[in-house]
Subunit: 516 residues, 2 copies
Amino acid sequence: MASGVTGAAPARAIRLHGSDNVVVLVDAVEAGGSLSEAAAGVTASAAVPRGHKMAIAPIAEGEAVVKFGQTIGFATAAIAPGDWVHEHNVGLHDFARDYRFAEARPNDRLLPPEQRATFQGYRRANGKAGTRNYVGILTSVNCSATAARFVAREIERSGVLADYPNIDGVIALVHGTGCALDLRGEGYETLKRTQWGYATNPNMAAVLTIGLGCESFQISAWKEAYGVEDSDTFRTMTIQDLGGTRKTVEAGVAALKEMLPAANRATREAIPASELTVGLQCGGSDGYSGITANPALGAAVDLLVEHGGTAILSETPEIYGAEHLLTRRAADEAVGRKLVELIRWWEDYTERNRGEMNNNPSPGNKAGGLTTILEKSLGAAAKGGTTTLRGVYRYAEPVTEKGFVFMDSPGFDPVSATGQVASGANLVCFTTGRGSAYGCKPSPSIKLATNTPMYRKMIEDMDINCGDVLDGVSVEDKGREIFETMLRVASGEKSKSEALGYGDAEFVPWQIGAVM
Amino acid sequence: MASGVTGAAPARAIRLHGSDNVVVLVDAVEAGGSLSEAAAGVTASAAVPRGHKMAIAPIAEGEAVVKFGQTIGFATAAIAPGDWVHEHNVGLHDFARDYRFAEARPNDRLLPPEQRATFQGYRRANGKAGTRNYVGILTSVNCSATAARFVAREIERSGVLADYPNIDGVIALVHGTGCALDLRGEGYETLKRTQWGYATNPNMAAVLTIGLGCESFQISAWKEAYGVEDSDTFRTMTIQDLGGTRKTVEAGVAALKEMLPAANRATREAIPASELTVGLQCGGSDGYSGITANPALGAAVDLLVEHGGTAILSETPEIYGAEHLLTRRAADEAVGRKLVELIRWWEDYTERNRGEMNNNPSPGNKAGGLTTILEKSLGAAAKGGTTTLRGVYRYAEPVTEKGFVFMDSPGFDPVSATGQVASGANLVCFTTGRGSAYGCKPSPSIKLATNTPMYRKMIEDMDINCGDVLDGVSVEDKGREIFETMLRVASGEKSKSEALGYGDAEFVPWQIGAVM
Ligand SMILES: [Ca+2]
Ligand SMILES: [Ca+2]
Ligand SMILES: [Ca+2]
Ligand SMILES: [Ca+2]
Ligand SMILES: [Ca+2]
């Protein structure tokens, strides 16, 4: 039975952002029905199905319909508070094909330094700050993966880490590529950046990179590309130079033992939240992702940006169709054009690979309450909040701007998060509806459930329940809870996936191009 | 100084196959110089550089020049024993563009069953035979990789395997894909076959597959595709069904403990060599690969085929240009046409991915002694020997023919070998010049060094030195040594990479198509 009719409890409604002129109904409502706090005082003028939108303010014909704090379409007729808002009174016209670079650039609020939150982190020599203090073993190619894992195992078995309590662990992050790829292609460039990004992520105190020797990904060329030489926090070696596996493991263990004392000297100190760089992810989305966890994470990101921090939105195929809203929020035309170039690249790439990019709302989406392509893609993009888009980066490219930025990546979680960590993310926030168990090293991942039943079922894997937004907790309050959790986890509190020990198998560099 | 001149030691020469009318010179020779045993009695009629070919029999104008037991070109002038054989007197004309399906199909020698060699293996319920007795943990998606590894770790820590001495180990073979892929594309079909091939490889006594739940690769659809249900040697589960990581690890450990007794009941018995299926690999090739280890492995494969066994050649991009020789050796036109289709697929695939397939001898190749594209690609294909091509398979497709067959794959070793094991390989033979440390589970890998210096330097990783072919050991004798080593390793003797513990990080399913 529909809620909100006379005598029944008011129908639950969610207002996803303070500037929205519509709410989303958690419960169906009949004509004359009353609404919960988010739309208190409004009476339904017609029956509205659950998951659909209802106006809470008058919207004149031609005026923007605002959800997630952003334009999702325009009224094609005058809309009154209490009206059902859907295809019959909302249209997009040519809006979605017009980038209007930087025209809707927001006036971001930025707190003065003395009012900014802090976390307990590790200040690195280059000025960046870590939330963890790992020692990493990377590989140039799959052919040295086992040697790298053997080195990590030997270090663990030796018990030597007991002498270095400030080190969170020695982690071997191996992969399935590194050879038989075109050295002039973007696949190689992407891997090169990814490896460098991990070697320099502020959550890494020191890094050893092991290669085979004859692979396409030459460690010497990689070091030359970044102008770096071996040091007491950066060592490299190959199996062929050293004369085999056993000698390499021996040399790797010896090299790590030399690096551990320096790595252990790092200690936590108060660091402003402006040094946080948070990778935003969603995986295993459901019908609640776009109305609970994603907007709540977006509210947390708006807070993070206010405190001077950085958040990285990614998963390009999933924001397809909403790029026009991001270009309008861009800091300037150049930033906006970079995003459009990424979209064009993906259109070409998927066509060449006989896939497709198509994010138009399906009949099922429409029956569920999604009206326009903008609204659909905003369900994913909502986790990026509402501030100015400050920069657009390729996969694994170092993020140099603070604030809200975009990094290109596939939607596949481990591949996307790997790129974000390579770009500098020292923390990850991951929303999930179906229940992902994802975890990451060296950057801890905080998992946000979109609905209460899944949260309860997978409570050992979930950090925060955003399902209670359906029960009346405001998106703003939820955002504050997420922001505070970011600060605590950044300061050393273990996230659920971290306590379980996740993160050694989730390093998955994006492979582009043919494996030859 | 060149060998072979009057008063100096005879120049070393290698005859790569009994039917060859040319030898390859290990040492340069001057006009009038004498040659070592492989070309004894022949006197050089002109100076021939090292690595180049010299005729050891008369070759009339228009007659085939035979190396590796196969036509690499045709004499463009009459060639006498002792003549240098290269571009000035060899041409290909249109030969390399004419498939002549099955026209040169060899008369394979097949030993009667009672004369066939045997090995000590595990006979499986479906009639196939294993060389190892592993229990596997597979995953549908990267999102369950950590859970799979945790299950393997818990089993190892529990000490329960001490009660099951016939089990070689519990291995978690995880990967970086399984979601965000096109379910109608060949990428998904390839992964589906690969997973099924591992689940049914005769070296696996039992298999547990763990999924997340919401991934593209649905375990239920996979089981339905192969018409299989859970049994006491095949179990499946998902993290979302079970309510999280800890519960999944608990359930996974319990499921394995139930499967271990049945897996332990397998014992070794005498099994004919016709039950061996050997994946052929080369990685880190050098200038010696094509004249030592690859032809020697080819000689071993010819023996294996005589004994009724199966050998799988792969690495399609590396035989490019030699497909015309394989089509002539094909059992029939249908087999030959399948190979041509693979070649066309690769041409299209690399073009779509902006790479290229080009195996023409470079100026450097020519200076080194390679005359034609056939000769160059035969350097890699030589490891397949000289018998009839009995079947052509897609990547990870079950091999159903016995004898010499081809399975499509990239040249990248772990990806190629993963496909071969999925196709049914219960043993791998891997030639290497630069020194690969590759190892595999569940199918042990035997590593063949192409040259003595590398063999000595990496002796802890190399099983057999084929470098001594340069010093006078015949290719036939080397082939016999390799075949005997295959039988010993198949019977339980550990290969070098196996003793070192390789094989947990080398499961790398081929990814085709865009990661979305
Ligand atoms: Ca997503
Ligand atoms: Ca995702
Ligand atoms: Ca090769
Ligand atoms: Ca190879
Ligand atoms: Ca095959």
